[in-house]
């Protein structure tokens, strides 16, 4: 029985348009393109965290049959967009992207120091194991706690006048002293890695000296195109980036990483197409991570349950060469109606690679702390955690003093509480057992800012009445093509089978990368607008064929035909319109972007998660046994894929809360949990029934489709809800993730 159809029997949403290709293996991923003359590369990475390379002994590697080159800073071609090398090499100032094979300096363990290129992957891998690199080692600092004193205000906040990362205060945070009940607590989130199942991979192909094609796993073909064009000083249009199918990314593909450039350098140097696929262990030091973050929250309330003040401080890890900034403390400014709020955000540079955005970046981290603290305060006030949140419900944005464009968080709370049976919960912690297990319920809110970027889309009606819609957007898993197909089919009144949506290619119309839950709001709007424009054109052409279509207001599109009036039995098909006008195709291009509404309204996606857990009182094992998640993201475009996206976020949240922890041995500055046997992500047995509900009410201020982003709020708050449920089950308040058995026995 199909669970989804049980939850929503009236659902008419589309199944994934590329589902069959994916499950039958015909979808081509980045590493799978058959390029004639391709050769294979394997990286050799540093085994020290700081210092410099003194020698690279590669003679033995070069004798391996099939080896074509050993590339390193000793012989790599000059990347034209990089400054000339200094002699002797100098460490770069913060704010400089790492340059691969540039000089002898080591900035982090796992840094690429050489690359073998060979006829086969096996030859390259074997040769790579024979390369001996010697180093002059310098003392490294990778231990977050021991270096906390070196954290500081981000340079970004020091330099940029309106940086949101500056210290923030509204009201008077010292008002906390007046609180009747107050919690001061510290929260720790360890480094966590995206680890999508598909490793990052690239095939780099140069056609001559000035034309580059890359088949690369990334989350933004246009942004990758721009970064590669800049590095190699090429006109943008000479760089073609193809990234059609992506086996998960969660943020790891937002930027162009050193390994991508390494492959491009090698391909140029050897004048051969080069394929590079990262090994699983290399994925821990090559494509970013959710940074180790320490937070402090002081939060207080007066007796009647109103918040008296919140002070939220967060310090995140970054590298020595770049600043990675996150929205860690932002939620505390906007989520609750609290008159006195102060936030401070600091960075701690360490001898590690640069972190990056990982699903719900900053907010997932910050909301673990805030929603844990809210829960703790509710217990201290002897108030129901949900009632406490409702008491401090923000009817307008307290940070920007603007009305919300739309907010149905209250409805989310009510629906979630009803579905999980919140009112039947006994408030006393550690008071209920089921089959010998401690039973607990917890909840947390979720929010994520609205991101809409200028986007373009092209729609081309074909002579047979089918339509091709195109935009350089991406699909890292949410089902972008499916949602866009649905939007186009709806606007044009067509069967979705007659719509083809193209994405993941840099030659397509401009679109943002897939990040910040911005795809549906941005690209969905562009697709809507371009299909409306195409429909108008078709109506105008129909008007030239028959007077009844001249009253454009009464024309209706359905079944690939225009009807006027709507109830008319005889329609005029799109194919006939094009045929009448001797058109082989009809093309429209449109751009869609935000306007003045962004200054008039504050826009967020909202949601909440309710979680049931069982904790084994003897072994401390936590099992999430039920999740109810409710989201208010405006209109739902395609329920089936949206639901999958919510489920994926919950699963990620379960991993964040209970398992994921990249452990580093600081004596070496090296991660030791570099495989799936030691870096745990949830398996099927860890994933309980997840019930997904949407308010599904269009946010008419947000954009033409009334739809806001879903990707991030699916995970934001989940770790807090689980930690709160664990407290309810056990009476233990755990403020350090992940919540593993050792912390509960």
């Amino acid at each position: 029985m199909n669970r989804q159809s049980l939850e929503n029997p009236s659902d008419t949403s589309l199944s994934r348009v590329d589902g069959a290709a994916k499950v039958t293996g015909t979808a081509i991923y980045s590493a799978e393109y058959a390029v004639p003359g391709i050769v294979h590369a394997v990286l050799v990475t540093s085994t020290i965290a700081k210092g410099s390379i003194t020698a690279i002994e590669s003679h033995e590697a070069e004798t391996v049959p099939g080896v074509l080159a050993v590339i390193s800073h000793l012989n790599a071609i000059t990347v034209p967009g990089w400054p000339p090398k200094k002699q002797p090499a100098e460490r770069v100032p913060p704010g400089t992207a790492f340059r691969v094979f540039y000089d002898s300096l080591i900035y982090f363990d796992g840094q690429p120091v050489a690359m073998i290129v060979a006829g086969t992957h096996e030859q390259a891998a074997h040769a790579a194991s024979l390369v001996r690199v010697t180093y002059r080692q310098e003392a490294h600092q990778t231990h977050f706690e021991k270096n906390m004193g070196k954290s500081g205000i981000p340079l970004n906040a020091q330099r940029a006048q309106n940086s949101p990362f500056q210290d923030y205060e509204r009201g008077d945070a010292s008002a906390l002293h007046n609180a009747d009940v107050r919690i001061d607590a510290e929260y720790t989130i360890p480094t966590q890695h995206h680890q999508p199942l598909e490793p990052h991979a690239i095939i780099a192909v140069w056609e001559g000296d000035d034309k580059l094609t890359v088949y690369d796993k990334n989350q933004g073909v246009k942004s990758a195109q721009g970064q590669l064009a800049q590095a190699f000083k090429l006109p943008r249009e000479n760089v073609e980036v193809v990234s059609k199918y992506i086996g998960g990314a969660f943020g790891s593909g937002i930027r162009v990483w050193p390994h991508t450039l390494a492959a491009v350098i090698a391909a140029k140097q050897l004048k051969r197409p080069v394929k590079l696929v990262l090994g699983r262990e290399q994925m821990f030091t090559s494509v970013g991570y959710r940074p180790y973050t320490k937070q402090k929250i002081s939060i207080g309330a007066v007796k009647d349950g109103r918040l008296a003040g919140i002070v939220h401080e967060g310090t995140g890890q970054t590298s020595m060469y770049e600043e990675h900034l996150e929205r860690t403390v932002f939620a505390s400014r906007a989520l609750y109606a609290c008159p006195h709020v102060a936030t401070r955000y600091r960075l701690l540079p360490l001898d590690v690679n640069t972190p990056t955005w990982m699903r719900g970046p900053g907010d997932a981290t910050g909301m673990f702390a805030l929603e844990s603290a809210m829960d703790e305060l509710a217990y201290a006030l002897k108030t129901d955690p949900l009632e406490f949140r409702l008491k401090n419900y923000a009817e307008s944005d307290p940070e920007r003093n603007l009305p919300w464009s739309a907010k149905s968080l209250r409805e989310c709370y009510e629906l979630g509480a009803e579905k999980i049976g919140w009112k039947n919960r006994l408030p006393e912690p550690r008071s209920v057992k089921r089959n010998g297990m401690l039973l607990g319920y917890g909840m947390a809110s979720s929010l994520y800012g609205f991101h809409r970027h200028p986007s373009r889309a092209r729609a081309v009606m074909q002579a047979d009445g089918s339509v091709i819609v195109q935009s350089a957007t991406m699909d890292i898993g949410p089902g972008t093509g499916t949602a866009m197909t649905r939007i186009a089919a709806k606007v044009l009144g067509m069967n979705a089978q007659k719509v083809r949506f193209d994405l993941g290619h840099s030659a397509l119309p401009d679109a943002p990368g897939q990040n910040g839950s911005s795809t549906i709001p941005s690209v969905g709007s562009a697709v809507h607008v371009v299909c409306e424009a195409l429909k108008s054109k078709l109506i105008a052409l129909a008007g030239e064929m028959s007077d009844r279509f001249k009253a454009t207001g009464q024309v209706v599109a359905k079944n690939g035909q225009l009807f006027s009036p709507a109830e008319d039995k005889d329609g005029l098909s799109y194919a006939d319109i094009l045929k009448y006008h001797h058109l082989n195709e009809l093309e429209v291009m449109e751009e869609s972007k935000s306007g003045a509404e962004r200054d008039q309204y504050s826009m967020y996606s909202f949601g909440c998660h309710f979680v049931e857990v069982e904790v084994n009182p003897l072994t401390g094992e936590v099992r999430v046994t039920r999740v109810v998640t409710c989201a208010d993201v405006g209109a739902i475009i395609n329920y089936k894929t949206a639901r999958s996206q919510s489920i994926g976020g919950i699963v990620g949240g379960i991993g964040m809360a209970l398992m994921e922890h990249s452990a580093m041995d600081h004596r070496f500055g090296r991660y030791v949990t570099t495989d799936f046997a030691s870096y745990h992500i949830p398996v099927h047995a860890d994933v309980p029934p997840i019930e997904v509900y949407y308010i599904d009410k269009p946010d008419v201020q947000a954009n033409p489709i009334g739809s806001k982003g879903l990707g991030e709020i699916a995970i934001v708050g989940v770790a807090g809800a689980i930690a709160n449920a664990v407290f309810h089950a056990t009476g233990k308040r755990l403020r350090e993730l992940p919540i593993t058995p050792d912390k509960l026995i």
Binding site: L618, A663, D665, V683, D742
Partner: protein, 335 residues
């Protein structure tokens, strides 16, 4: 991975003679561990002797013994009628291990010979006495949350110096250790038998040796003698996620009960030592007693007196104690 030559013997005898001819060769069965070791550069045999097609898959019960061929797949053993009815502890332990896909590839012989999953062992850039004797133990003062709490000499007058604090990763071997299993081994000198308790080694000062198998020897079968534990046995595995994770701690408990009292008991612990850790005194402590949580707690704490924690795994002492109590409760059916 270092290039290697692939050999395919036609018989057990030929396999053994190949191994004798090529000391640098290794047998390969399911390959679920060896291939990883080769990819990471930890094992680099120049020849692989593929034994998968040899006639060592049979599972049969004859007279008073269950004999399982070394090439029987973990998944086949776990669902075999004789195993489920006579040695349910073994079936439970097998199903607690790895994933369905791995169990479909992994063999019984390979399971006996799998190597520790200690992260220091798997990373050539980190020190490891097991991989490179004398290099030092990275885990001892490093990341050792999952490492051993029992060492050679435990229970016999204190801890001896151990060069390796890694744990044996198998679930199957924990159950088999509790069940007094015998390992059938073939070599150039013919067949010999070793009790499983003597098959694996504690680490002592030669941690590079996981077992007492001699070079070139081939495990051909295991044998478990019938017992009266089927009604009261339980395999409990505590792990960081619900499936597909190595044990933080596991307990194989096998009891014989009559008239509300325990008359015979065997127990082995997993995830706590360099080999499955047999709790020898349990029979003495439980024999003739009526099950109770208080008794089980005493029994558990008794064995834990000789446990020794490293920096990050002190929790394992309490966790093991709790797991013993939970396993005994489940095996005896008390709540």
């Amino acid at each position: 991975m270092k290039p290697f030559q692939y050999l395919r013997p036609k018989s057990v005898a030929e396999a053994i003679s190949m191994a004798a001819d090529y000391p640098e060769a290794q047998y390969i069965a399911g390959g679920t561990n060896l291939v990883d070791l080769m990819k990471r550069g930890i094992a680099s045999p120049s020849k692989l002797i593929d034994i998968n097609h040899l006639p060592l898959k049979k599972i049969e019960h004859r007279y008073d013994r269950l004999r399982i061929g070394a090439l029987a797949l973990n998944s086949d053993v776990a669902k075999h009628k004789s195993v489920v009815s006579r040695q349910p502890l073994l079936a439970q332990a097998l199903l607690a291990g790895a994933s369905g896909q791995l169990r479909n590839m992994a063999t019984v012989g390979g399971n006996l010979l799998q190597r520790t999953r200690c992260s220091y062992f798997y990373d050539l850039a980190l020190p490891c006495n097991k991989r490179k004797p004398g290099a030092g133990c990275g885990a001892e003062a490093g990341i050792n949350r999952t490492h051993a709490i029992f060492f050679a000499g435990n229970g016999f007058g204190g801890n001896e110096k151990s060069a390796c604090i890694a744990v044996h990763p198998s679930d199957m071997c924990v159950a088999l250790t509790a069940l007094d299993t015998e390992v059938v081994i073939n070599g150039t000198g013919g067949e010999r038998r070793v009790l499983l308790k003597d098959f694996h080694r504690l680490s002592t000062l030669q941690p590079e040796l996981d077992t007492n198998l001699q070079p070139g020897e081939l495990v051909t079968a295991i044998e478990v003698t019938d017992n009266a534990f089927a009604q009261h046995s339980h395999y409990l595995k505590v792990r960081d996620r619900a499936s597909y994770a190595f044990a933080l701690v596991s307990v194989a408990a096998a009891l014989q009960m009559d008239g509300g009292r325990i008359w015979d008991a065997r127990m082995a612990l997993g995830g706590v030592a360099h080999k499955p850790w047999r709790y020898w005194a349990i029979d003495l402590m439980l024999r003739g007693q009526a099950p109770s949580e208080k008794l089980f707690r005493e029994v558990a704490e008794h064995e834990m007196q000789s446990a020794k924690a490293t920096e990050q795994n002190a929790f394992k002492i309490k966790l093991t104690s709790n797991a013993i109590v939970a396993a005994l409760k489940a095996a005896t059916g008390i709540s």
